[in-house]
Symmetry: C3
Subunit: 461 residues, 3 copies
């Protein structure tokens, strides 16, 4: 083994147990916050600034010098200035040659510039080793010391040693560096902090829209209709009864929508006879947000469960129970147990419980730490087998519960169907098509296509 | 610092911001899928193929050449061919000398060959740098872009730089590389995608078997016996009543089975007087699946909780409540509150709730991301202290609930004990033995043995 | 690319597929356990010992030699001896020159020595490459093979190659190495296994104290007062009724306490006119345990939910329901539905369900694997927006439920307020102050201060 090279690679030569000086260009908010934190962690910090007058803003133990002098004092220079001022660094190219420059900048918009800030810096100063880091950390978090969110700092750069030096500083500040590879990853790292749940946006809007629709549909049929035609004021249904009608409908519809793109994909592949063509864009996007749709469906299902379980605690429910029992008592008779009713009530409860149980299992396996611990075979087993099982159980639960409504005229107030009936359209359609797709005469060609077979291999010419 | 060596280590020399060409040997399904994905990510791809005729199957922007010409164009060659054809690479040894060869192959069975495919490749071409990667990713997932499962790609290899190059490609494809060390890890990585929940198999079969046994036992005693001797048809008990009898029994028995191997281990160590001998194989296996047993027990306990909470919603329950109240009303009297009954009912409910609460805490700490954040002392505190506390509370819950059944002759239909009584055998035995083991006269020698003391240190000769 | 250097960097030269010999100094418990495990994993192990007489304690396949001879046989030497005996290594400095020394020692107390054991070892033997590792693994776990806790092994060291060699061994033993950077991290790694939930200590004691206070307060008012003045024995309330009064109070108070430090911080910053001064220590500590406070609050809220849901199953509840219905039946009348009561009961149930739902979402985002997958913007959105929403909903739930108690004299037994009233003080105060803080005239200067503006920039001089 080449002992010499390994010695030169020793990143923190701490025979003296002292940290190396770090230079920070720029005395803005983030530069000061980072300097504070570094001084707390034992690093000597020197600021590079145009004027050394504004030094009173700067942490007490830091030195403030001109840019060139400051840069000479340290091997690592943190560039805490904005991209539009990077060109002022070009005259310093000679001083910065061979130094590690840490680009910590963020943009205001996604993909604001053609190349990432770090790559732009590397082009301006080809003699320096540019490392992208720290842009995902907030100055406020550094300052207040309350890093209860992600402690991950994404680091990328072309020079492995420079990256190691920066990662050591990251670790010394109590953060966790995550190596994202070469500087090509800088664009992605710069876009990262600008996102606000990008994958959740469409599923959120879709479910908000559907929820509003179903809610007002129910309000119209259950409260307004009853008030107009039966002169009963059931306005308090808004609090629990109607949410508990909307939640299961949303849960079932969204769960079914998770499985629709897979079915579309299968049909498209069967039709095209190949898997080597991209799906239409809308299908791609739909496929990518299936996990989010499923989790929102799970949230609705959980709300449905809790709303259902509190039923006996409601004043309305105990009034209704009491009324039923008193009317029997006043008539001096006890009704015998209705076995059909007992079977139906127990069946849909049991189906619902099992469906919800599988649904929760699916939710747990979608936790990042759990899904990282299963391989593809296991993941597909859980997601397709268990997922379809949950869909079947939940659809059956709804059918058994709401089945009697299909033929009852009271379910068609204002000639509109009850929402139970509406909610069953998508899941039943999905299950029927899926049932067709698992027939051997359809499944066999599909499997072959997915293993790379092509009906008409000339398409790509 | 040795700047020269650090410059030569720059892995992705992207002054030109362009990705290096990647060569793929083999135009099978996975080779094409990977090529598609790489072209999408900006890599020039060149295929090495026996015949350049079948080029119409291949992604449009890829070049197709003979093996030798293709290999010369790239520093990284992905070997997308099957192990049994590896020997055709030996004539190319000279061209492949110094190149990075990425072995992406999988086998059909666990440990199919004496050495891993990657090690076999390294033996065939000792001049090349073999890296194992990508075998855990499915072609279908690469193709459809829906990588919602694990994005982890296990990478191993003896050459650090070659591994870095491959890991950069992995990152560029939007996947997360995980360095598993030297090529010795290839066997494990090749076995990984072939497994389907290996640790869950035995606990699953055990609990399915026990569930079936308890279910039919209950059907016999609660439905068939009642039908024959009391002429009551309670067949609808199959949906909720009986599952809600089986679930708590399964939960309690499985939770107790989690603690049995620890007790056996302590007894074996006390008997042998040393910890430096392996446990019997069955005990080792049992110990390794304790987590899975515990999680299945938690699933049964959760089902029991939900099944119990829906009780007031059942038609049968409201019929029974009404019947009781009407019979009181018809007799013109109100029964006073039975304080013993109130105490018993509230006690077993409270014990059950607290036991379930601790059980859920145990389940949460077994999530990979949580257990990675606790140290050994904390983990053992949670698993042994909280675990035994949960077992004690759940056993007490069952005892208080079912205690009255022990002496009642109606609990012994057909001279068979009620399943409450059966379910208490294992947990009570575990708690009694554990109680003996924590006596100082037993605990002291056990602790010494676990700290390395040996009664008869000559055993190993 | 410099192929030569890359070849010399090949860490596990396994053309021969054999593992390199590892030397272990010290034949204590951990040394033996580690040796056993390494032999199982295919490493030849040689022990360095003062006397080769005690060889019968040592794994059968290991060799035992004097320290110097043993050290010469291996490139990696594991120092399984205690820190106080490290100085006996100084005479071996020449033999150990250039070797990788793995410090696996732990201390008995936090920060027992001024420098970490590994740094002390590096000072004693400056020619060797010291790597800290394995100290977080328990000998018992290595021995019994049941590594169901964290498989993470923290590794740190100044020499990258040496660290890689140790990390390869860690991986070969089936554990996961985690690079913590240079040897400066050794202190932290040595302190790690000595901690028992350090961040949980204060929140736990606080909530235990508050729970005890509220519990006895309720026992006094609900059981003792009722027994003395109304001669009713409600002692069974201890099991469910009183816990279900204490749990929601604790959940609400602790949830409010999570948001108190943020409000104090805002007031302090507004008063000081700068963010560049540290908060008082008590505030810093409070801020750091907010997550733990929130999770304990969630635990209390969950218990409250389950305690509430089992209400209809309690003997007391069914007795009370029956009593009410029978008294109506005996009076030959059915009470009409009280719409106000129906509205109130449904409202507080719905508010509670939604508040609990948001609370659970907050809990899920605090799982390490989930919070690692969100960026700062997303984390702050969830924690502040959703968190305050949950606090508002839960406070409203309590107000609607307990509002009637404020004016009722029966709520002031012994002139003491009911705990509902007590529980509302902190959350209402928090919400009122927060409401003031979001007024533009207060929010604008605060935002500016947090972006780095200072009212009196001379403070630091």
């Amino acid at each position: 083994m080449n002992k010499n090279s390994s010695n030169t690679m020793a990143l923190a030569p701490n025979t003296s147990n002292k940290r190396e000086t770090v230079c920070i260009f720029g005395t803005g908010d983030f530069g000061r916050a980072l300097g504070h934190k570094m001084i707390q962690s034992g690093y000597p910090v020197v600021y590079g600034s145009r004027s050394t007058q504004i030094s009173n803003l700067i942490p007490k133990d830091a030195e403030v010098l001109g840019h060139a002098e400051a840069a000479q004092k340290a091997a690592i220079i943190i560039i805490a200035i904005q991209r539009q001022h990077y060109n002022f660094l070009t005259p310093l190219a000679e001083v910065l040659h061979g130094k590690v420059l840490v680009d910590i900048s963020n943009n205001l918009k996604l993909n604001q510039y053609p190349e990432s800030n770090a790559e732009y810096l590397a082009q301006l100063l080809p003699g320096s080793k540019v490392v992208k880091a720290f842009n995902t950390v907030s100055a406020w978090a550094l300052q207040s010391g309350t890093l209860d969110a992600s402690r991950q700092v994404f680091v990328c750069g072309d020079d492995v040693e420079a990256k190691q030096m920066v990662m050591n500083i990251v670790r010394a500040l109590g953060l966790t560096p995550l190596d994202k590879g070469s500087l090509l990853a800088a664009q992605e790292i710069e876009n990262y902090p600008l996102q606000l749940f990008p994958m959740w946006r469409f599923p959120m809007f879709l479910s908000l829209g559907l929820t509003a629709f179903f809610f007002f549909y129910c309000v119209a049929l259950d409260i307004i209709y009853t008030y107009i035609y039966e002169h009963n004021d059931f306005s308090f249904f808004i609090a629990i009864t109607i949410p508990n009608r909307v939640c299961p409908v949303m849960a079932l519809v969204l769960l079914a929508l998770v499985y629709v793109p897979g079915i579309f994909a299968a049909i498209i592949q069967l039709y095209r006879g190949t898997k080597y063509r991209r799906f239409p864009d809308w299908l791609d996007k739909w496929m990518l947000c299936r996990k989010q749709l499923g989790l929102i469906a799970l949230a609705f299902a959980s709300l449905h469960v809790v709303f259902t379980l509190v039923t006996p605690l409601r004043a309305f429910a105990s009034w209704r129970t009491g009324k039923g029992i008193i009317s029997q008592a006043l008539n001096n008779k006890t009704e015998p147990l209705d076995h059909t009713k007992a079977w139906l009530s127990d069946s849909y409860l049991a189906l619902g419980i099992l469906g919800f149980f599988l649904f929760v299992l699916l939710g747990i396996t979608s936790l990042p730490s759990v899904s990282n611990n299963v391989n593809w075979r296991e993941f597909r087993f859980v997601q397709s087998k268990l997922g379809y099982m949950a869909l079947i159980l939940c659809t059956a639960h709804t059918l058994v519960y709401g089945g009697k409504w299909f033929l009852s005229p009271s379910a068609y107030k204002w000639y509109l169907p009850n929402i139970y009936i509406l909610s069953l359209i998508v899941p039943c359609a999905v299950l029927v098509v899926k049932f067709v797709l698992i027939f051997p005469c359809v499944d066999k060609p599909l499997t072959e296509i997915r293993q790379g077979w092509e009906r008409n291999p000339k398409y790509s010419e």
